[in-house]
């Protein structure tokens, strides 16, 4: 089979999760890989609502890395700058523990928060210039269904025959098929 034949995309909007599940189950049984299936929903779905592999996320890891980074930066600022330009304090400590602690605390939180958000945007393909592979993040004609509370099933890389079959399956329950 040539590559050109495998580029069909079928989209279908559904009202209910049960209908999406039925169609997805049929699609997977017919030999389509789970990675070709994309479901867009108006709200997060429960893990076991669809027979698809659970997406992975490294947000927590990056958040912790951000916390370490932010904390170290703040610590360096608070302690390092006082040592780099030691002004006479009349016997008071030049680097005092509690203030350094306070600033480090805030820096840790700031680093964590910023890295969390950046990673969320990165994983979702929401940063400028970063699209998710396989056209997953592209706009669709049927996106307005998601906005109005319906689900959108998109199956990528189908042959013409597979696409035709999928359209037939979908027509029964779908609100719109594209």
């Amino acid at each position: 089979m040539t590559a050109a034949a495998q580029d069909h995309l079928v989209e279908a909007a559904f009202e209910r999760v049960e209908d999406v599940r039925a169609v997805v189950e049929a699609v997977l049984e017919s030999g389509v890989a789970a990675s070709q299936v994309e479901v867009r929903s108006p709200a997060p779905l429960e893990e076991d609502e669809l027979p698809l592999p659970k997406p992975k996320s490294r947000v927590l890891l990056f958040a912790l890395a951000g916390a370490v980074l932010g904390g170290l930066t703040a610590f360096g600022l608070a302690a390092g700058t006082a040592l780099a330009y030691p002004l006479p304090t009349g016997g008071m400590s030049i680097v005092a523990g509690p203030p350094v602690g306070v600033v480090t605390y805030e820096g840790t939180a700031l680093g964590l928060i910023i890295m969390t958000v950046l990673r969320v945007l990165w994983e979702g393909g929401l940063l400028p210039g970063r699209a998710i592979r396989g056209g997953r993040g592209r706009a669709s004609e049927l996106d307005h269904h998601v906005a109005n509370g319906r689900l959108l099933l998109r199956v990528h890389g189908l042959s013409e025959e597979q696409a035709g079959r999928l359209r037939d399956w979908s027509r029964a329950a779908a609100v719109e098929v594209g």
Partner: protein, 465 residues
Amino acid sequence: MTDRPQASARALDGELLGRLDRRRPGLLVGSLASGALVLVFFYCWGYQIANGIGVTGINRPVFWGFYIINFVFWIGISHAGTLISAILRVTKAEWRRPVTRSAEAITLFALAIGGLFPLIHLGRVTIFYYMIPYPNSRMLWPNFRSPLVWDIAAITTYIIGSALYLFLPLIPDAAVMRDRAAAGLKKRFYAVLALGWRGTSQQWHSLEWGIRILAVAIIPVAVSVHTIVSWDFAMTQTPGWKSTIFGPYFVVGAIFSGIAVLMIAMALLRRGLALDRFLTDRVFNNLGLLFVTMSLVWGYFTFAEHLTVWYSGDLFEKNVHHVLLHGDFAVPFWTMVVVNLVIPVAVLSFPRGRRPLPTALVGCGVLVGMWLERFLIVVPALSTPRLAYSIGDYLPSWVELGIMIGAIGVFACLYFTFTQLLPIVSVWEMREGWRHAAGGGESGRTSGAAPTATAAAPAPGGGGA
């Protein structure tokens, strides 16, 4: 959110979208009216910059006045949102869903205004950046031992954190607005905000992780912010300020005043946007319980603070204590006690008092009371210094009053505009709640297992299933 979830979820969905779509001329009028106050704000500030900080009423010994009072006041209000919404999110309280967005918006705008006041207060605002750590030509850095520099660190973290905490859950809703808008400027505006959100499972999964982490992270930040604000006072030697209770006292006061604003905003939103079906009586009841709890905690802290001072017999502390309770400041002090403690407890202890109108009215009183509290912290302590020769008093000038009223206008203007442009009730979170309610045993497991927030009633998802 009712007993017939499956059947009515679709209808509720449509109704919510309809409410958000509808143009509200009242909001526009509100924006414009408060916009006029924005001009007052900038006129007064400009006048002060041009003529010098002396156009205020501050003097020796009352070196801090309305600006610092309003700084603490607005930072306190900012605790409405992020903190309350984060606590409700972490505890998975289902009734949070219609509340979070409006609360988080309050936080961001109140914080932006609160953060301006220390700058307005500066003698030389044109060189405010001396406080920011950056490698200048002399490599002289800020003094990190100063509580004011802690303030900068804390408020920077908090404002960035709460802006992102507002923005992250807003992305899917911006996509909703984008996909429902007709092509044009409006659609492009929402497209920019939505960043290309499509609602794929990966996006939802990452977003949920992000919100979960931010909700946990923002709570200690919010607590630290108002603690550090209190340390601007408590770290000094000044009688009336030097107190270990100030940290928690300020945090409690902040949450208290934050809930007050939230109650007012929600009553207005419910009425103005006809959101009765979403901002239900149950939401007001639960928030009202939280409100009266904070009132009692606040009353306890106030009592504890003044009792220790009174009993100690410390001469200088007692001087401040005396002017507060019996002297020049007795009227504002006892007014504060009435509106912050007596009235809230009298009204909110009863279910009928926890309805929108009474809670909003109590909220107005608490706002006055909490403003007075900050006034009573700043002014009496300063006007009663140790060396009696320097005893002074303080009256604000028209410039300070103008900036204070203008700041309220800035807040209202931002809030009206935000409500006009973006869903003030989180659409996707409501949808998620309806799904949970409809999901029967499965989602009953999730929400039923969740601990409920403080004094709040059990989550409706668990109860309904």
